[in-house]
Symmetry: C2
Subunit: 301 residues, 2 copies
């Protein structure tokens, strides 16, 4: 047992919720879940699966996982498998694990989109898709990698499950208990509704922040601009630092819903543009006041 | 002397930088400057001018000003006059003060745009425009009003001066010293360059955040969306809560530069839209990676 592991494992319950947990993708999302379950004493042994051996070693040194494992080992040994990788690769990972999966294992994911993930899981797992409970912890940060993992990441955050008709109620409750043990509030939604809402409140801000940040960076006088950027810029662009690979997959996976939202935002940009072209102060103030009121009414700071 | 005033006035230097300061518009920006100068001991008496008598009374109770004054009284008595109102009304205020201005008084402003402010000041002050040193403290917050005033607001922030050929060097240095006493770093720029850079790094984020926030608020299922909005949304939309009146004036005043930036951002949104339509992962990843790299390279947290 490493020093770091000792430090983070205060205790393990006599009958932990998850005797053996496998985390596929030990970065911010998966690593934080492992740390939170350890802190709650609700996990026995944690296996880590990933493409990058160094990163897994680092996760072990940090006390996030007990050991690195292959997909096959994880499938054979784990009671619960949490897939915390970019959504585009999920189907392939499930297909590789399927022949080795324990019949009582419960699989879940942390993907930011759900309809395409469900389709990929059906294709990969076939009649065993009932073992897969789709999930999405609505938490994240611009940081990534095992170093960014934080046992408190899910405290008071929302986790959305989009259960399948094939899921046994016990499997859904097991995944619910996992996230509750991490400190999260768990709700259930339809996968399509999830994707439409998240396109609006999560994916769209990322798209706008990234488009804007890219435009500033591409300007001839980018350095001069960035030198004068202040705290508004800082907060507005923070999300643009997020993993390009992860967000590429999200944008591809949820592109239908995201394009609908983008068209609607562009229609409002048209209103601003036209009001500025007309020099129309009252129209600008009305647009700004609607936004300011809505933001002030949203009390979640 | 009120209790609150006693609390904020630790001392006054024997020869304070500004024996009598008048602040026109005692909100976040003007109020914070007054508090910072008081804390530095660099101001004797502070007069507050404003349309709202209650707000001025509150400012006096908070120890921000010593007394309310009319524009005429401020013009007659003040060594330095700081105009901290929405930029659209600046010309009118200067014109009203002009007949009463002391010839040794120095005027400055805190407006977020400069070219139009300079034009308005020239029209209003005529041959006395040399008394007006245009300035812009690059600091702000979504809060407003005297209650939001904070003596530390300008600590380590940048203040941009856009001096006029008519300004006496001593007048410019006086305004520079004022902001330095507030803890700010002061730089000089050309007014047009200021407006183009600020259109990009300040006004454009506000426009995007407001357009987005308004679009979400106008959606039929706005409540359901907002219930699932997380920390990314929180940071991205924070600026959208800013004063609609102030931002209306900024957008009108700087609309030429802002419309140029908006067109450039929309061109990047087109690239995202087309990449999603094509299902083009590499193009999306390249756009996202450019933004992520630029944001990570901008170290200002």
């Amino acid at each position: 047992m490493t020093r770091a592991l000792t430090g983070t494992t205060a205790h393990v319950a006599e009958n932990p919720l998850i005797p053996v947990l496998a985390v596929v993708g030990v970065g911010l999302i998966g690593g934080s879940a492992a740390l939170a379950l350890r802190r709650a004493g609700q996990v026995g042994r944690v296996l880590g699966v990933g493409r990058n051996a160094q990163s897994l070693e680092r996760a072990r040194d940090l006390g996030i996982i007990d050991a690195a494992a292959t997909l096959q080992q994880a499938a054979e040994q784990a009671d619960v498998i949490l897939l915390a990788t970019p959504v585009g690769g999920l189907g392939g990972l499930l297909a590789q694990m399927r022949p080795h999966l324990r019949h009582d294992a419960v699989l879940t994911d942390a993907g930011s989109t759900k309809a395409e993930v469900v389709a990929a899981a059906r294709a990969a797992l076939g009649e065993r898709v009932g073992q897969f409970v789709p999930g999405h912890p609505v938490a994240g940060a611009e940081r990534s990698g095992p170093e960014a993992a934080d046992a408190a990441l899910y405290q008071r955050r929302t986790v959305i499950l989009t259960p399948l008709p094939q899921n046994a109620p016990a499997a859904v409750e097991h995944v619910r208990a996992l996230w509750q043990a991490c400190g999260a509030h768990v709700i259930d939604m339809d996968a399509g509704a999830h994707d439409r809402v998240l396109a609006s409140v999560s994916h769209m801000p990322h798209l706008l922040a990234a488009a804007y940040m890219g435009q500033v960076a591409a300007a001839e006088d980018a350095a001069g601009r960035l030198a004068l950027a202040g705290s508004g810029f800082r907060d507005f662009t923070r999300i643009a630092a997020g993993s390009p690979e992860m967000w590429r997959d999200i944008f591809l996976s949820n592109r239908d819903a995201l394009r609908v939202e983008l068209a609607a935002v562009r229609a409002v940009l048209d209103e601003f543009e036209q009001a500025m072209a007309r020099g129309d102060g009252p129209a600008l103030e009305a647009l700004l006041a609607r936004a300011a009121q809505a933001r002030r009414d949203w009390r979640k700071e």
